[in-house]
Subunit: 481 residues, 4 copies
């Protein structure tokens, strides 16, 4: 039963829907309703080859996890493989693909990359427009995203002089696990969109410096592949998007426990899709680039139709929207011994509730500005927490992410009481631009910047960074270059 | 007695002034002094066809309401009709008409419209310059208009997590009347300038979602036509510009009562014409586009001459400029049983007086920045009212309008105590761009944005939106895109 | 003894210096050292015709006041007159003169001028670059000048509604003298630079509305000419730059008393030349335009040489730099019965001293930002005075000038306690653009704006404008268009 | 033993490394490890002529101080000299050299230079890109550098009037030494990069006005040459970068004591290299300009390699990073009788410690924003010190530097209690643009601006400038032009 293209093509609707992925045939008829991205995106490829749409988004174990063995229908026949190969070979590159390829060939040499902004600049050039739109997009007018970064601009240092700093050690521990710097990789989905080795680039790039990687539930490599890519001394955390069905959620937890992941970061700020316009618009931008502007004709587009969820929204349609402090945390405690961190605390009041719920840590985060527009910048929440509820810092570990691009940003958060800070997009950009070596470069830049900042502030170790060393100024400094 | 053009043309001055409107002849000699826009604009067309100037501004019952039966002189003769039709057909389109037509043909398909800004962008393209200038213009340097919108930029959310939101209901009641969203159509005049179906587009577009429409005294459709276009379950409010003559004002109130309008919004912030420069300049812009720049020669334009009032000023010249709390509210109460809302409260002090006058509601508004330049933004007035006079919210309903363009804007106002928020220009833009379906699209976008915002804040219904969920920040966030 | 050019040309140095002005010959040898602009500017024309440099700056009585009868040497002979006339006629126009002429021919008709900004725009086009630079220049980086205007942007209205305003009267009194509006012409020198009729345009333009004109000591028309141009019911004030020699100062006071001027505004903020770079650079800009960029060669320009004072600095080199409260005010009181106002108070402390010195009024002013860079904006000083020393307003009249361009600006200052506000540059621009009729237009625009603002605030007369009607906001509104 | 090029060329690695400087041969093998800029930069020239790289950076006594007599190997032979001369002559100028030369020929005449900004503008044109990048670069995104200047923008004057100022004296004393103005030259390295006479231009330019020059440890002229260029009445201070080896540091102190330097400014804010990206990037910018953009190929640039320190970082690699209040100040006191000033105090807390350590003065400075990004602007530190710890001003002298460009800036700092203010970059720009005469021009401009400001504030001498004359405003003024 190797299949011909003709045979496959007869299963092209919702009653019987087959697709070809990487030269193999699958019956996804029963899966149509469960697909997080909705059935219509699959039906577009019903009876046809779906490889190019499928691969950049799905981890390698997705088919195995989601389809029964009987739905794996087996390989195409030789003629079909030959035909698809010819089709693939003859496919004309899009303008965006050509642009991206050209940019790839013009990347500056790595020794000219001296800041995270440099890495982002290269990534912006080499990424496909679709990947760029997915990575950089944020909610509504992208104000919270920008404010996350701008918040750091309001905090100045009161540097101390005449303190010995020839030896300066920026290492620390997160939930008891060693790290050479007070930073970690914050969970970010779909790294494969930016580079074929995706999340694995990050894993390998973090190994030498023991920077801890938080792996997203929506990673584009499987949790197992990422674990396999890690070195023995390396720590991985898991970012849990909790499925609405507890049993399904538990299966996911068990899997990562067994793979040796060391903590659960429960995502609470992204339980429904948000409004990321840049992401939603990206297929239109690409369409228009290839085939010209679309114009209105009556009947096209019902007034009440949904614009679609973009890439991001599709990933979370089955997540639990009814989590509570009373129900969810005790359940999680009851099923796992791993430390639990709440990812997505956005105000002081919830930080208090988290402490009362006795979780091990909280990650002050608004999801990089990608979820609730006008959510307070995490640094501002950290500052309020430090001013108003200092005791919280004794009860759990506090982290922040969002907008961190410089060693000074890291040091400011640490001064205010953060155990460590997470970076998401910067790691995606680094690996998109230069793969694994880009990740190493990012860490090396941050290390140099953090150590220089600490020394110039008179601090020889993390514990010497204290709240009195930063001041929130009441004017509006110039923006970064 | 069908009239020839020659006969009509003999009545071309203030002693005997006839005009042709839609092939019929009217004697407006006695009406010249009563015309809100002044006699000179009519005299420009004395003895001639005035249809093209008359129609986009006046409701269909204007002639009936303002002229005696004896002043309706009857139809033109056939030759006259023929001549006018030929003249009309041979009229060359202006550059602005051509531009607008071209834009109409290039509108993006409706399924690509995902924000209110998109609707405004299309409207800006397709509207005649004159309509655009009338809709978007505001007082003086348009600072209050811009500040209305910018005010929302200073209010951030303190989102709550771990609250059940899978079910989320944004419906509420305004003066006891149901609405699926805490929004309503704020009164805005002359919708016909933007689309032949004008206000009726709004009425029909609001029907499915039961969004309440406040109809302006200066609507370009008659109150009856709008009522006729509404569905049985739909609520209409009436925005009253009170005539200086109480009897005339009363006639207007009686009319809308009988038509089933459900509340009176008494306009108090627009009792004299204001200085809308963009509106005043618009005929010059169009003239120059057609025939080149005008230059100075001595004697042209007396120093003390008035620049004209623009479209807006003309509409209100006969309004009551001497309303008082002591006189006007009791009178209004005495003549109608409808709920009374004061539209145009601009400070806390007057909110208190309104409560003392026992009205049913107040609409904090500065008329979209179109009247008093440097009037405080309504959101700032709402914030002061909430901070300083919380008890007011128990005595009457509070609404705001001005600058609302996003679901987050709506939610912020509701958090601070607004029962609902009004949108004016956005509805005009939506119907100008796509007619009735544009109005439905606008509502559908706002519904999605409001529900998403509520869920991401941990609120499953309107009552769960509370003042502690917003914070007025003391820095200056980046502006919207 | 009509003089030949040859005879005149023999008196061309500081030992014997003759100049020709308007076809007459003057011996200015003894005057060289007394000339406020320094001797070098005169020596440039020694033995030659100086008319074109002399006329736009000097009032017609300057030669009479400054030279003895014996120094008036009499007319040129016919041949000399003939030669000069030919030279004049053959003089090629400069690029700047051509540009200015062209702009003059393209002025928009007066009925299209609807704001003070419109008048300024026209003036900027039609003025010679030199005049423009002199009028608009301010100290250093022109920050105080800009801040003067921007200060108004921070004050918002708390408008009151439901108050009778059909009748609205903006008239008031300044030092007991009637004015139809709470504004006056603030002293500004050298109006002739902008228009041949200079200050006289302002006088005549103000007559119908009884707007009071403060005439500068450095007016380019004589005090007598200006008085002669005024109507019987018109009030003139005098802006005194006190000469360091009391007797000389007294002579000036006696002159204006006899001409019927009604008050003395003693200038105290401009006792030394300031740094107006735009003014200083203007001859270089013009030179380069005509003849190309100047470049460095060694020896050109000693390091310690002064850049020159610009037009403005020259006017005040002989003024009294050692005035004190103890000495100067009593002296002034002793020599005149006219009301005394101190022009140039820049802080609350000096307002108190002025009240103690029992002067009749103070003009809060930083000279339009032309003197001390970073002097507080007058509106901010007024606000501090109102908040901190309310009783001062009962002891003397308070005025402000600087940055006023809108009716709202006027109303804000009046709300805060100003009896009236002065405008300087706007009157210069108005008369430069359209002469006397431009001045009338300016007043007519302001009247309309002031009345509209008052009505929309619920104020029917000046006394109803109170401090509680304005609020200084703590955010940064958008700038004017 | 005059050497041939062939003989020298055989010593081209780290085992035996000879270089040619100014036609003489040196054995630097043993010095490689001590070279502050690292060995690699020397090895680039091993066995070859290093003159062009060496000269613009090193003082003339560097070879004598750092190499043993036996390592001075003597002159090249005639043929070698001839060859090098020919090579030099045939060297094609780079695009940057041509640009700079052209700009030098187009400098505006000195009498058109009327502000420090003018001097900077010329310098930016005439400097080599490398020198410009070194001078103007600052840490990270150059925010602290910009904020240093912007801080002055927030302080406004409360000018006093009616005070005698015809005589105005801006002279004062610094550590007891006379100066005609409350300013001094703040230490700045490598003036030779901008002009062949480098620091000597500054020395000679300061002589007439007795402005005190603080000479950097890293000056590009020797301390002796600078002392020799000074006039007998002129005061020099010494900016000490303390070597980590006390004995080496002491040798440097003894040298300047003997040369007559009058005070030690101990640098404490620049003990490790900082991140000056513009400086680091400058060779790449120049390379690309000459030879095109560099692009990435695998293996080029290890991820963990350092980007290099730039010019600035190299100068301080051997400095003492373990200075403390307890150890360093007592040691310094024990070895010298000169007054001691701490340069680089960045917060109030350290100002208090400095007073307790009984030093003679503190220079509030963040090294012109070149070291710790987000260090508070010195003017803000001065303001906090004045508000919070007024008594400190009685215990030691306080100076600031950073961002001073106007006389108003100087006067503001003096009002707040600064004895004097330092300027660094402006002196480098002035001498780069016009040599010694540029320095005199700079001082003459500042003198005029300071005196004008004092007079317009009612201050006739430095002591009359008091804290109540400045106000820190709570809005954001427009930026300088």
């Amino acid at each position: 039963m190797p299949w011909s293209l003709q045979e496959v093509s007869q299963h092209s609707d919702s009653k019987s829907c087959w697709v070809i992925i990487d030269k193999k045939v699958y019956d996804v008829t029963n899966f149509l309703q469960e697909h997080p991205g909705g059935s219509s995106i699959i039906l577009k490829y019903a009876g046809r080859d779906a490889t190019s749409a499928y691969e950049p988004i799905h981890p390698s174990d997705a088919l195995e996890k989601n389809l029964l063995p009987s739905q794996h229908l087996g390989p195409l026949d030789n003629e079909a493989v030959h035909t698809l190969t010819k089709v693939e070979a003859s496919k004309k590159k899009t303008k965006d693909e050509l642009r991206s390829e050209q940019a790839m060939n013009k990347r500056p040499p790595l020794n000219r990359i001296i800041s995270l902004a440099d890495l982002e600049d290269v990534a912006k050039q080499v990424l496909s427009y679709r990947a760029w739109a997915y990575y950089c997009s944020a909610a509504d007018d992208e104000i919270s995203m920008q404010e996350n970064a701008r918040a750091f601009n309001r905090f100045f240092f009161k540097a101390r002089v005449m303190r010995p700093v020839s030896k300066c050690d920026p290492s620390t521990r997160i939930l008891g696990f060693e790290t050479t710097l007070p930073i970690f990789v914050s969970g970010a989905a779909l790294a494969k969109l930016g580079h074929p080795q995706g999340e694995v680039n990050i894993t390998k790039g973090c190994a030498p410096s023991k920077i801890i990687q938080m792996v997203s539930s929506n990673a584009s490599f499987s949790y197992a592949e990422i674990a396999a890519a890690s070195s023995p001394s390396q720590t991985l955390f898991f970012q849990l998007y909790k499925h609405k069905d507890d049993a399904t959620a538990l299966k996911r937890i068990r899997e990562v426990e067994q793979l040796g992941y060391k903590a659960i970061f429960l995502t609470v700020d992204a339980i429904v899709p948000s409004n990321r316009e840049r992401d939603v618009r990206s297929p239109w931008v690409l369409d228009d680039q290839e085939t010209g502007i679309k114009v209105y004709n009556d009947g096209e587009g019902a007034a009440d139709s949904d614009p679609g969820l973009g890439v991001a929204g599709a990933l979370i349609v089955n997540d639990d929207r009814d989590m509570t402090w009373e129900k969810t945390i005790p359940w999680l405690r009851s099923v796992t011994k791993l430390p639990i961190v709440i990812k997505g605390i956005q105000c002081v009041e919830d930080a208090i509730l988290a402490a009362e719920a006795k979780v091990d840590g909280i990650l002050l985060s608004n999801h990089g500005g990608r979820q609730l527009e006008y959510s307070l910048p995490p640094l501002e929440v950290l500052y309020r927490l430090r001013m108003q509820q200092q005791h919280i810092f004794n009860k759990l570990e506090v982290y922040i992410d969002g907008g961190i691009r410089r060693g000074t940003d890291v040091v400011k958060a640490v001064c205010l009481g953060a155990t460590a800070v997470g970076l998401g997009r910067p790691f995606l950009y680094a690996q998109s631009a230069y793969g694994e070596v880009g990740v190493r470069k990012l860490i090396s830049i941050l290390e140099r910047e953090i150590v220089t900042t600490m020394r110039l502030m008179g601090a020889a170790k993390i514990a010497e960074l204290t709240p009195d060393m930063v001041e929130r100024v009441n004017w509006h400094p110039v923006a970064k270059l």
